[in-house]
C-alpha cells in the first residue's frame, strides 16, 4: 500500500467516524429532495405526507423529538426501530424495501428540512386542562395519565408527544372517525383497534365493551367496569362488532373550543416530558 493510499484511507475512515455523529449529507440540498421520495415510500404511512404526523406516528416537523436528540440518534431509530412502539426497524415491516445508509441520511436531511424551528406555542391553559381531564371532562374515567385514571381507553400519558394537536382535537370531537390502535401484536399486520363489541352469552348476559384482542374463534373484551371477558364465539347467543367508539362525542356543547384547547395543552405538557 503506497503512502498516498494510506492518507486517503485515513481520511476516509475519519469521514466514516464523523458520519456516525452527523449527517454526512447535511450540506447537500439535493439530499433532502431525494429524501422526500424515500420518506413518502417508507415513512409517510404513519408519519403523514410532509412529516406532519398521521394516525399512528408523531409529527416530525417539531424541532424537539421525543426519542431522537441528534442526527445520530435519529439514524439509530430509523435503523433499529423503537421497541414497544409501532416504529419498526428498517426493512422489517415485511412490505417495503430496507433502506441503505445513504437513503436513511437522505430521509434525515428531508425531516430536518421540514422542521418548524419555532415550536408552536400551545394555546391552552394546561393547568385548567388537567382539572377538566380528572374532573368535569370525565376523561380519566376511561383514560390514564401518569398512572391515574381508567383502563378502558388508551393510556394518554405519551399521546401529546406522539400526535399532532389537530389529531388530538379530532379524537375528542369525533372519536369514531379513527379508532385508536390497540394491542400491538408483532405477528399481526394490522393490530386490533378499539372496536365496540356487544355480545350476549349463552345464559343471556349482555356484555358491551372494547376488544382487547380477537380472532375468528375467540374475543377478549373489557367493559366499562374494567371487567375482562374471555369469550368463545361459538358459545355466544349473539356477537356484534361496531366501529362506533364507546367514547362519547365531545361536541361544543359538552366542551367548548377553549376547554378542548386546555385539555390538549395538558396532554402536550405531559407528553413532551
Amino acid at each position: 500500500m503506497s503512502r498516498h493510499s494510506w492518507v486517503v484511507g485515513v481520511v476516509f475512515l475519519a469521514t466514516i467516524c464523523i458520519a456516525q455523529d452527523q449527517n454526512p449529507l447535511a450540506n447537500y440540498p439535493k439530499a433532502a429532495k431525494a429524501g422526500e421520495s424515500e420518506f413518502r415510500i417508507n415513512c409517510a404511512l404513519c408519519h403523514g405526507l410532509g412529516a406532519r404526523g398521521g394516525g399512528r406516528g408523531p409529527d416530525l416537523t417539531r424541532a424537539q423529538k421525543k426519542h431522537a436528540h441528534n442526527d445520530a440518534e435519529m439514524f439509530q431509530i430509523i435503523s433499529n426501530g423503537i421497541p414497544g412502539t409501532a416504529m419498526p426497524a428498517n426493512g422489517t415491516n415485511g412490505q417495503g424495501v430496507g433502506m441503505t445508509d445513504t437513503e436513511i441520511w437522505q430521509i434525515i436531511s428531508y425531516i430536518r428540512s421540514q422542521e418548524v424551528k419555532a415550536s408552536a406555542k400551545a394555546s391552552g391553559d394546561s393547568a385548567h386542562g388537567k382539572q377538566l381531564f380528572f374532573g368535569d371532562g370525565n376523561c380519566s374515567m376511561c383514560h390514564m395519565v401518569d398512572g391515574k385514571g381508567g383502563r378502558l381507553g388508551p393510556d394518554l400519558t405519551g399521546v401529546g408527544g406522539s400526535r399532532t394537536r389537530e389529531a388530538l382535537i379530532d379524537s375528542i370531537r369525533n372519536p369514531s372517525r379513527r379508532l385508536a390502535w390497540g394491542l400491538t401484536e408483532s405477528t399481526k399486520e394490522f393490530p386490533q383497534e378499539y372496536e365496540t363489541v356487544t355480545a350476549v352469552t349463552h345464559d343471556g348476559k349482555q356484555v358491551k365493551g372494547v376488544t382487547l384482542n380477537e380472532d375468528s374463534f375467540t374475543v377478549q373484551v373489557m367493559d366499562s367496569g374494567e371487567h375482562i371477558y374471555l369469550l368463545e364465539k361459538n358459545k355466544l347467543k349473539s356477537f356484534q362488532k361496531s366501529r362506533e367508539s364507546m367514547m362519547p362525542k365531545y361536541d361544543v356543547e359538552v366542551l367548548s373550543d377553549k376547554e378542548v384547547d386546555d385539555i390538549v395543552a395538558y396532554l402536550v405538557s405531559v407528553g413532551a416530558k
Binding site: 424495501v97 399486520e189 394490522f190 375468528s216
Partner: protein
C-alpha cells in the same frame, strides 16, 4: 468476497447411522441390511418419472404445489369431515429463525424437506419433527430482498434438494446430509437480484425465477442441469433489442424493466410446457418513462421446458402502475375435454385461459376492484385512465398488496372449486419519482391503506372456474397471507393472521376444527402420510407444525 458458504450443520439420527453401515457384510444382520439398504435407496431417489406420476404416491408431497398441475390437492382421505374435529398437533419443529416463514415443505418417503428464512434448508423425520440435517448459507449483510428474508420452498430430484438463496445463488444439497453438491451464481445480489421462489424440477432441469422487481432488475427464468448446476437456458422476461415485445418499452426503460418471476410455475407434460407467471414492471408504481404495455411483465408465460422458448403469453395487467405482480400459481384444470389454466390474479380478477393457445376464456372479479370499467376485444379488463397514481394520491381497489398475493391457492377436483385467500383493501396511490440507481429501491410511488376502506377484510373464497362466480366465502378476522390446501377428505385447510390453522368443509367453507399456533401464517399447507397415517403440515411463526388424528 461474496457467497461464502458456511459448513452444513449435520445432525445424524440413529436411523441414518444404521443406514450408513449398509456396506458391511454381516451375516447375522444381512437380512436387516438388505431391508435398510433397500429403504435407503428408495429414500430421496426422486426420479423425473416419480414427479410425473406423483398421483400414484399420495403419501408424498414431491413438489411445491403437490403436483405439476399446481392444484395443491392431496388424495389422502384419512382425515375427513367426520373426524376433523379430533385433529391434534403431532409435532412442532422450531427453526429459531425470525421473519416471515413462507415455505411449503416437501415429504419424500418419511423425510420432510423445507427451506426457511435467512438461507436455511433442513430435513426432518416427518413422523416426529426430529432434525436429520440443517444447512444455512451465510447471508451477505448488503443483500436487498424486497419483502423479507424469505424462501418459499425447495425442489427435489434424484438424491438432491435444490433451493435459491437471497444472494441469487442456486444450490444443490445432498438430500441425505445437507452437504453442498453444487452452487451456481445466477446474478449479482448487489443489484437487487435474489431468489425467494421454490424451484420446479422438470425432467433433469431445475427451473427457477428471479426476484427484484422493486430494484429494477431485468427479470428472467433459468433452468439448471440437476446433475452439474450448468445453466441450460435463460428466458429474459423483458425482451432485448430485436426481440418481439421489445417495442413495448420506452427508450432504455427495458434495461431496468423488472418483470421478476418469483413464484413457482406449473408444468403440462402432455405439451412439455411450463407455465410461469411474472411480476410488476419497474418502477412498480410509476408508468412515466416506460410507456407501452411493458411485456412480459404481469404475464403468464408458456415456455418449452427443454429450451425455454416462448410459445405464448397472456398479460393480465398491461403497463401496471399498482404493483400488481401476476405471480400467483396458475392451476391446470381439465374439464369437459377442455385444457384450461386458471389464475386468481393480484389485480382482483379470476382468469380462465385455454392453455393450448393462451386465449382468454373469462375474467371475473372475485374481490373489490375499481380500476377497470371496460374490457378489450379479448375480454381482458382494461385499466381506467383515472386509475393511475397522482401526486396528491387517490384511492384504487385493490390496493398494492392485491386481492391475493403469492399465497398458493388450491383446486379440488371433487368440488370442482378453486380456493383462494383474498383481501379487500383499497390504497391511496401517490407518485414519488425516483431515479434508477443500481441496488436501490425503485418504486416510483408511495401507497397508503385508505382509511375509508377500513377495516381491511380477509377471506377464504371458493370460485367456480366454469362461471367465475364466488360460490362460498369465509371471512377471517383480518386478512391472511396463508395458502390453501384441499384434500380428498372433503376438507380445505388454511391459516390466519391470528395464528390459527383451520380445517373447513370444502363444500360449505364452515370451520370444522382449528388450532392456535401462536404465530401468523405466511405459508402454504400440505399433506403427507407415513406408516399409513395422514399428516397435514404448515409453517407458522418460526416453526413447522404437523397435525394428525389422535
Amino acid at each position: 468476497m461474496r457467497g461464502v458458504s458456511t459448513p452444513a450443520m449435520i445432525y445424524r439420527t440413529l436411523g441414518l447411522s444404521v443406514l450408513s453401515g449398509c456396506s458391511r457384510r454381516s451375516q447375522r444382520f444381512k437380512l436387516y441390511a438388505v431391508i435398510f439398504c433397500a429403504l435407503s435407496t428408495s429414500q430421496a431417489q426422486v426420479t423425473a418419472d416419480r414427479l410425473l406420476n406423483s398421483a400414484k404416491e399420495p403419501q408424498n408431497w414431491l413438489t411445491y404445489s403437490g403436483d405439476y398441475s399446481g392444484r395443491r390437492f392431496s388424495a389422502l382421505d384419512q382425515i375427513k369431515i367426520d373426524n376433523a374435529h379430533t385433529i391434534v398437533a403431532k409435532w412442532v419443529y422450531q427453526t429459531g429463525a425470525t421473519g416471515k416463514f413462507e415455505t411449503t415443505p416437501l415429504v419424500v418417503d418419511g423425510i420432510l424437506y423445507a427451506s426457511g428464512p435467512d438461507n436455511r434448508a433442513f430435513a426432518l423425520d416427518a413422523r416426529t419433527g426430529r432434525p436429520i440435517w440443517m444447512y444455512q448459507r451465510q447471508v451477505p449483510p448488503d443483500i436487498r430482498p424486497c419483502c423479507g428474508r424469505v424462501n418459499r420452498g425447495v425442489a427435489i430430484l434424484g438424491d438432491k434438494v435444490f433451493f435459491g438463496t437471497l444472494d441469487a445463488h442456486v444450490i444443490a444439497l445432498d438430500a441425505k446430509t445437507g452437504a453442498v453438491r453444487w452452487d451456481a451464481t445466477a446474478a449479482d445480489y448487489r443489484t437487487g437480484h435474489s431468489f425467494t421462489v421454490a424451484p420446479l424440477a422438470v425432467k433433469n432441469l431445475i427451473i427457477i425465477g428471479i426476484s427484484g422487481g422493486e430494484y429494477g432488475v431485468r427479470g428472467f427464468i433459468d433452468a439448471y442441469d440437476a446433475d452439474t448446476g450448468e445453466r441450460k437456458w435463460r428466458f429474459y422476461t423483458v425482451p432485448g433489442p430485436g426481440e418481439p415485445g421489445h417495442d413495448t418499452w420506452e427508450s432504455d426503460s427495458w434495461k431496468v424493466g423488472g418483470a421478476p418471476a418469483w413464484n413457482t410455475g406449473t408444468y403440462d407434460p402432455a405439451t412439455n410446457q411450463i407455465f410461469w407467471p411474472t411480476g410488476n414492471p419497474a418502477p412498480s408504481n410509476r408508468g412515466e418513462g416506460r410507456a407501452g404495455d411493458n411485456l412480459y411483465s404481469n404475464s403468464l408465460l408458456a415456455l418449452n421446458a427443454d429450451i425455454g422458448k416462448l410459445n405464448w403469453y397472456f398479460q393480465f395487467t398491461k403497463h401496471d402502475e399498482h404493483d400488481w405482480d401476476a405471480t400467483q400459481v396458475p392451476i391446470l384444470i381439465d374439464t369437459n375435454g377442455k385444457k384450461l389454466i386458471a389464475q386468481a390474479d393480484r389485480n382482483g380478477y379470476f382468469y380462465v385461459i385455454d392453455r393450448t393457445n393462451g386465449k382468454l376464456i373469462s375474467a371475473t372479479p372475485y374481490g373489490k376492484t375499481t380500476w377497470s370499467d371496460s374490457k378489450d376485444s379479448d375480454g381482458r379488463p382494461v385499466a381506467n385512465k383515472t386509475a393511475s397514481p397522482t401526486l396528491e394520491g387517490h384511492t384504487v381497489c385493490p390496493g398494492a398488496l392485491g386481492t391475493t398475493n403469492y399465497m398458493p391457492p388450491a383446486y379440488d377436483p371433487q368440488t370442482e372449486l378453486f380456493y383462494v385467500t383474498a383481501r379487500d383493501q383499497c390504497d391511496i396511490f401517490s407518485t414519488a419519482p425516483q431515479p434508477y440507481e443500481a441496488g436501490h429501491a425503485f418504486y416510483g410511488s408511495a401507497y397508503f391503506p385508505s382509511e375509508e376502506a377500513k377495516p381491511y377484510l380477509g377471506f377464504l373464497k371458493a370460485i367456480d372456474p366454469a362461471t367465475g362466480e364466488v360460490k362460498q366465502k369465509f371471512q377471517h378476522t383480518s386478512p391472511t397471507w396463508s395458502g390453501v390446501l384441499s384434500t380428498a377428505g372433503g376438507l380445505v385447510f388454511t391459516g390466519d393472521a391470528e395464528g390459527n390453522f383451520i380445517a373447513f368443509d370444502a363444500a360449505s367453507l364452515k370451520p370444522q376444527w382449528h388450532f392456535q399456533m401462536g404465530g401468523a401464517v405466511y405459508a402454504g399447507p400440505m399433506a403427507y402420510a407415513v406408516d399409513g397415517k395422514e399428516y397435514v403440515a404448515i409453517a407458522a411463526g418460526s416453526a413447522i407444525y404437523a397435525f394428525g388424528l389422535p
